[in-house]
Symmetry: C2
Subunit: 640 residues, 2 copies
């Protein structure tokens, strides 16, 4: 399957804004953070760590010390990956020059044997590979491999790729040739090695990725034994919490998504990618089982995952608390990675449905509309005075903070949004899958021509595909995802009902398309009520409101300061649904009939509280928290 990167030129009101934001604000801002150039923001020191490591390698000693998280290197890697994608869309010599400089520095921080990790080089040179459980060596390597592949594809420059091939070879020597035991406490290298393999065709990388997948959890005591052998720790994480690292069972026997949610979905992404290549049925089945467990029992309606602050983790089936959710932005980014790999295994629309759910809701909510502030944690309910304040809610901040000591989410959002074409499109043989609906122009492979998309999605349901074949005609199938929420969808070819076959949620239009042929799709963008399964305690008696892919929420700001006292009228009609470009960078707010419960004096009363009819104003969840401190709620009780 082709990796869409330079071939899709975005021309889209909704995502165009994000692409420019990433290019103009997020990438420059994060670069300055990595270089410690932003005052009053948590120091990163990530570039300085590379400088110190380079100096140490070149001179045997260094002035500076390592600073930051043990995985600080990965912030540079994720930023470079995002920058690479941005360069693919918006060539920028100065940015490319600064990236090249950083890559040069990274090269200087690499040991002769290929080893690369500033924490160990600067701080613990004797302790390489002795703390796979906590020390994130393979994780950092994985992220830099992803950056290397992206940068090579985008710029054609292979210096970082060469560096990371040497590191991958070093890892191969250590774990395969020398037979070192173990696997990474934080999965990531598996999926990264698959990207390296797919780009370089070096079979060692496939072998190594498969090795890490296959050995995981087979000796489920590995981390316990490892922790007993060493006399040092990073945080002193409990090695006996095997589920936290998904090391409790061999991966093929894992049936429930458990432990640290980001680790989990990164692992499953690697598993799915290995399975897609090796066609290993048992691995394919494990991936499908884990996918179903997440999406049928452990995922929020916003596409968020990870119900608990404790361990930033999945908890149990059907446990989806709204106000104490961990719901990490990175975890939903990882879920999108996993979904994309599952799509390669199984052309079912449910995977891109989930990509869309997670992207348009949890992931976008992770970033302030101006691109400078980020949420780690994306709760579905926020109550000032409790959220971020009660001991039970240290993590659910009601407003996005400036920067984090652990800065994993911001560059993860940046690299996802700046490579959105990969998730929007997929070409397989002569079938073009349209998974996300984003305006722009896609170059088909082998110079067959272009397909142009025009749309105002997600605020309008019309999507037009205009064909521009190189040879004036092209035989192909356009497979359009019919989102699960679109209860009536019309598809026309040049103004007449198109002929198509629906299979697994895709409408396949197979045709000889000629220049300017136009496929017009109209999705059902009417306002919907979403009902959670009745065994989800936290949503019982409540509904969520959506339109298209967007889940909506109530903010106090638009509702006289009160959200907890509001009820949606059962079978209410939506009275206003109009695009307003002046609110929250352009949204469609919804006005829906409801009630406001009068607040009683006493905590408990025997008298039914009075309810006054009122109108509720909903905004898209992704835009919440951009106008100061206030209540927010996604799931709203219904009332007749």
């Amino acid at each position: 399957m082709k990796d869409i990167l330079k071939d899709f030129t975005i021309n889209d009101e909704f995502f165009g804004r994000y692409e420019h934001l990433i290019k103009d604000t997020v990438i420059p801002y994060q670069e300055k953070v990595l270089k410690d150039e932003i005052p009053n923001v948590e120091k990163s020191h990530a570039i300085e760590n590379f400088r110190a490591a380079a100096q140490k390698i070149e001179t045997g000693t260094c002035d500076g010390e390592f600073y930051g998280m043990v995985f600080q290197d990965s912030d540079v890697a994720k930023w470079l990956e995002a920058a690479a994608y941005s360069l693919a869309m918006f060539p920028d010599d100065e940015l490319e020059k600064r990236c090249d400089d950083i890559i040069d520095l990274i090269g200087r921080a690499q040991h002769k044997d290929g080893y690369l990790n500033t924490y160990f080089t600067v701080k613990e040179p004797e302790k390489r590979w002795t703390n796979l459980q906590e020390a994130h060596e393979l994780y950092c390597a994985g992220h830099m491999m992803e950056a290397a592949v992206a940068y090579a594809k985008s710029t054609g420059k292979t210096k970082l790729l060469d560096i990371m091939c040497r590191m991958a070879d070093h890892i191969y020597t250590h774990f395969i040739e020398e037979g070192a035991e173990g696997y990474s406490g934080h999965p990531e290298v598996e999926l990264a090695l698959m990207r390296m393999y797919r780009y370089t065709n070096n079979a060692h990388y496939l072998e190594l990725a498969t090795h890490f997948v296959n050995t995981r959890g087979v000796d489920s005591d590995y981390f316990i034994k490892e922790s007993k052998k060493r006399d040092w720790k990073v945080w002193g994480n409990d090695a006996s919490d095997k589920e936290y690292t998904q090391a409790h069972l061999p991966v093929r026997e894992q049936t429930k998504a458990v432990g640290h949610a980001v680790r989990a979905v990164y692992l499953y992404t690697g598993m799915a990618d290995v399975a897609a290549k090796t066609k290993d049925e048992s691995l394919v089945n494990a991936c499908k089982t884990l996918w179903d467990n997440i999406t049928e029992c452990r995922m929020y309606v916003t596409g968020a995952i990870g119900s608990a602050y404790e361990g930033e983790a999945f908890t149990k089936d059907n446990h989806l608390p709204n106000d104490t959710a961990y719901a990490e932005t990175c975890a939903s980014v990882g879920l999108i990675f996993f979904a994309r790999k599952m799509f390669e295994l199984d052309k079912n629309s449910k995977y891109a449905d989930t990509i869309e759910r997670a992207l348009y809701n949890c992931v976008l909510a992770g970033m302030e509309l101006d691109g400078t502030k980020f949420f780690y944690v994306n709760p579905l309910e926020v109550i000032p005075g409790i959220s971020g304040e009660a001991k039970t809610h240290p993590h659910t901040l009601p407003q996005r903070p400036n920067w984090f000591a652990c800065a994993c989410c911001p560059p993860n959002v940046a690299r996802l949004l700046s490579s959105i074409g990969k998730y929007a499109w997929s070409e397989e043989g002569n079938t073009l899958y349209s998974n996300l609906f984003i305006g722009g122009t896609l170059k088909l492979s082998e110079k067959q021509g272009k397909v142009r998309v025009e749309t105002n999605y997600p605020y309008e349901g019309r999507v037009e595909y205009i064909f521009e074949p190189s040879d004036r005609k092209i035989d192909m199938s356009l497979a359009i995802r019919i989102p699960y929420w679109s209860e009536s969808t019309s598809i026309q070819l040049n103004g007449k009902k198109a002929e198509y076959v629906v299979k697994d949620g895709y409408a396949y239009i197979t045709n000889t398309f000629i220049t300017n042929d136009k496929v017009t799709v109209e999705f059902d963008m009417s306002v919907k009520r979403i009902f959670a399964r009745s065994n989800i305690s936290d949503d019982s008696g409540k509904v969520a409101i959506s339109s298209g892919p967007l889940v909506y929420c109530l903010e106090g700001m638009d509702n006289e300061g009160d959200v907890l006292g509001l009820r949606v009228k059962k079978d209410a009609v939506t009275s206003v649904k109009e695009y307003d470009k002046d609110i929250l960078d352009g949204i469609v707010p919804l006005t829906i009939e409801g009630y406001r419960i009068r607040k009683s004096q006493s905590l408990y009363s025997l008298e039914r509280p009075k309810a006054d009819a009122c109108y509720l104003t909903f905004i898209p969840y992704y835009a919440w928290g951009n106008r100061g401190l206030n209540e927010m709620r996604v799931w709203i009780p219904e009332m007749e």
Copy 2:
């Protein structure tokens, strides 16, 4: 105010069962636990600790070691207090002999200077009074003082009282005469010293109680300084968490109930008792403010308090999660203590309303109906598979375990239930307050005669007071609490409407009562819906069901295994409400119209799930969890 103890003879179906259970099962069982005589139960060693301490004092050395919590001594104290109350009701020479033996042993474990604490005597003899933050010395002393007063009142024997007077004198010397700084990390000694003072009239004890109340939080860094001075710890609790120990502000400036909930209400009880004696208005006001904060913003409908497992603590106003509540049994016992002292300050029915709420719901639920198993934690919703299993729910066990390493709650329930007369009645001058409605006979003070109560409360609303004055007539007021839930109450004197004045929730019937005069009260026991204030997120759109003082719940057991899918029909009528002696030791189950939501396949659906009309069977909350593992829920969504 007279302390009712031996003067009330219970003859009551509901509480009679409990009094016998405490006497026949709980007290003997707990005695065996304290003596390590129950196999397969967490070893207590509490009596052995006293034996070791006695041996050490007598010989300078000991064979055994200290075992258990640093406050293990208090388990013996609370048991002795419960035994004392039981002996007052049910004289029992053998039990009294065994108590005397334990008291002899306690006496032998006391140092010549009066100091008594087996942890320090056996384990840390050099470290007395160096860790007030964690080491519970004053707390253990307080509990033993309470036992001493109870035992003296009940048996007339003063040996334990003498022991504890020497300990109190020792504390007085240390903190007052020698001017040692500090106060107890776990309040308790304050209220205990007040009991000692009220029984002995030794002004030093009032002075000492007042001292501990007045110094608390004045130097709010005291525990931080103390922890820096010492080189040892019990658990290493964070001394800078000042709210945990209610040491963040001088007590008169505290306006919110914060920190460890048991500590908080024990402190407030001591504060209220000091205030009642000293008439210190600023202290009275602080108590009232804290009372209102708890009961209007931080209390569950079951009378449970403490919303968070983290720190076993209060959290923030209006934060009352049902499934993750800490809601410790001991905290509700402490709330009852606090309420009783507030009643002394302010003859308002809201205090006894809260005693009743906490007693009939949270506290009774703390004990298995057979008296052998206990809950620490009393959640308002339990979901097998999540409760007690998810990392977020380690504390909310769905069934009562056998015994706890930290055995604070069982003896606390025992001492409360075996002294229930104290909470039922209060005599002030010639006014007799009837606060709880329990059948039995009360001897009036100064040999004025008796009042007999006949009732089947809480399952019937009729309460009869029959007067038996010694001199055939008596001038007095009977002040009957009109519970907040009784929306229509009739009061008759000898079959005719009685004349009475209602003030602050009490009906005062002032009369010259003659022999066999009968006051008959009929409370409104109809089934009620309780609505939480609209800003309580976890209860929004839901109702709780009650009848009289009893809050009801749904258990899966009675409802086809399903509770989360059930809805109460708005304005449904109760179709069955009949006492059934064969269920759960005799309850009135309620059958109420409702709906069962069909469980959908998918986690989220756009289609409104079908709802089937059905009958819901409710049982009193106090009886939940007695029939094996199943779902339980107090707050149920309403549906039209």
